[in-house]
Symmetry: C2
Subunit: 397 residues, 2 copies
């Protein structure tokens, strides 16, 4: 029972994150904004660069990882795969356009600012990300997950996450000085897409069998615990297959949504999501180092300027991608849903820094773009949301 | 987002612990044993000395710590402080006898086996522990938490935990070669008891105020999240006051039990307990190194023999302490409830090893005693449980 971490610090961080998230979430809601915006904002305040109550440590990251896996599992549970399949084609179009436009814009801008082709590649790649966690959370808060717009955004965000991992693998290889064959790209792409398909196709009968076994249990809390274990196992498999754990958790939820216990699982999981998911958003906020963003410090200014430009390009590229969707949908809403980079953008930025593909100023520029797009999306989604909830689904296509 | 821990390993360990706990818990229940026995047993199998799926790592320990804090918070929520106060005197008698008898027996036995006074002191101290987590869990499973016997055991276990920390502080000081004044012991004791009293006395009005604030919230899941944050904050304060986090969590629950939202909080917290508490019991089981317990290895035998003796003495001392209770109660049940050492015994053992007060064989002997008393208690409690549930409360005193 020897501790490498301090259990007191952990409890304080967890409690601060929960209290802060609910307080600022409530404040955001009262001024007409999505609660997640308050959670991100309080993360900045609680994080190491201001109060330091929520450290960027393994112990807190662990809670955040569990939180985001639970969140995507819940989103999966609320997803109708048949409906998602029906919007597959426009979602794919939105996802692809939403990767190509920001990449091209980011690359060209970075080159125009005198960056090397390698750095420019990483800058462009970071702009291709879409934060499925933030997007799904806002859609759920606005109660538009089940609308056609919601399903297109969700589908596009999943595709974006899957392809984003391919992009990350490719640019990491380039940064490492490796040669890049078409075979590597093909294998990476095949693995990522193959995993998602396999997880859903095999997950549905497995999930049904799991439920049949769970029905026989006498001990307390088996349904919730076993469903969550199912999500964790598929998240682990996703990681092992070089895909993202959150994609696995989403697939697990979507598979269990096809069982007759969907609502019971949802009721058992919701209270756990309520306690862990806020830690994820607070953690993302805590990663903002406000000192680097101070324009009064002259040294910060070039990076900030490039960051502002990248944010504008990143915004415009994703927003325009929304207009690649077709059917009776509010395209601007779809575009806005693709805008937040969130944690996925942060992963690109930190891999870029770790491989020296991004130097410190370029890293800060990417962070500025990541955070501006993340913070601007929730209020924008709220303004643009389809008025008649779910009505688009019933409209003739 | 750089990881010092591997998120894949964490998810696999978490999932294995959940599946194993529910499967073996169910098996235990089917053969007429408390589910927690199955969870402890599967921990041995999943732990590093057998399958290695649940490593003894910070990442898993963190989940276990959250699990046990949640569990004690829930037990606190189900505790009636007035009732607990009514059995305060017999509970205190049971706790004190349950510390003195095993300490004296353990010390004398270790000395008879040729151990130094310092080692014998640590051996005796380790036997004074009572695992409030395991005891409370079994009482809850047997639905006897609300009986007079249940309340006496719970009260005595809380006192034992509080005084156990004083004992640990004192023996650690002795092991470190420090001189021990009455002032130090007094300060340690005062701090530990003072914290518990203060947490409950101040916790009740604070809890009521918290509930009033929470009532005004509009965002989702505020009651569960804020109550849990309250438990974490008091657990953190407990740690800061050199008391045990679980004592703080228990006090937080007992304080919130006095609000009018007791049942709503319980409903919001139960699903989270179901997912995290099993990890704690699996973790305790995983700490058993089966290789040290193999009697076929001649070198293990002296330590095993001493361990068996210590287990017998530890058992007899706690069991006898139950007979110090008075009133219309089943004293044997109370004695059995005090028997499991669990995680508290492990803490003593590992501090003893770390300070060199215990050498490796003496450490193994203590572990044997800790585990035998831990594994024997749940089935014994089941056999001895009061037949008429809750009836003892209504009987004339």
């Amino acid at each position: 029972m020897e501790h490498g971490f301090d259990v007191g610090t952990l409890f304080l961080a967890f409690a601060s994150a929960l209290v802060g998230a609910k307080l600022f979430g409530e404040l955001a809601e009262r001024v007409g904004q999505p609660a997640v915006l308050g959670e991100l904002a309080v993360g900045v305040i609680l994080g190491p660069s201001v109060l330091g109550l929520v450290p960027i440590s393994d112990a807190v990251l662990e809670l955040a990882e569990i939180g985001v896996v639970l969140l995507l599992f819940e989103v999966g549970l609320e997803t109708d795969l048949a409906e998602l399949g029906r919007v597959g084609a426009p979602a794919l179009a939105v996802a692809l356009a939403g990767m190509l436009l920001p990449f091209a814009g980011g690359y060209a801008t970075a080159r125009a600012f005198g960056q090397t082709p390698l750095t420019a590649t990483f800058v462009g790649a970071a702009l291709t990300a879409t934060s499925i966690g933030i997007t799904a959370r806002v859609l759920s808060e606005l109660k538009v997950l089940a609308t056609r717009e919601g399903q297109i955004i969700l589908g596009a965000a999943v595709v974006d996450d899957v392809l984003g991992l391919v992009v990350l693998a490719v640019v990491s290889k380039v940064a490492g000085g490796g040669t890049l064959g078409l075979a590597t790209v093909g294998k990476s792409t095949g693995l990522a897409i193959g995993f998602l398909v396999a997880a859903i196709v095999l997950g549905i009968p497995l999930g049904r069998r799991l439920i049949r076994v769970v029905e026989m249990a006498r001990v307390r809390g088996v349904l919730g615990a076993m469903s969550f274990a199912f999500a964790l196992l598929i998240a682990w498999l996703a990681k092992a297959a070089e895909s993202a754990p959150i994609v696995g958790a989403f697939a697990a939820g979507a598979a269990l949504a096809r069982t007759n216990r969907r609502h019971d699982i949802d009721s058992a999981i919701k209270p756990v999501v309520d306690v862990f998911a806020p830690v994820f958003f607070v953690y993302v906020g805590a990663e903002v180092d406000v000192r680097l963003l101070n324009p009064a410090v002259a040294a910060n200014r070039p990076a900030l300027l490039l960051g502002l430009l990248l944010a504008a390009i990143g915004f415009a590229g994703k927003f325009a991608a929304g207009f690649c969707a077709w059917g009776p949908v509010r395209r601007a809403f779809i575009g806005a849903g693709m805008v937040p980079r969130g944690e996925v953008g942060l992963i690109f930025a930190s891999v870029g820094l770790a491989t020296s593909a991004l130097d410190e100023p370029a890293f800060v520029s990417v962070l500025v773009a990541v955070f501006l797009t993340t913070f601007v999306a929730p209020p924008l989604l709220k303004v643009l949301r389809p008025r008649t909830r779910g009505a688009a689904l019933d409209a003739p296509a």
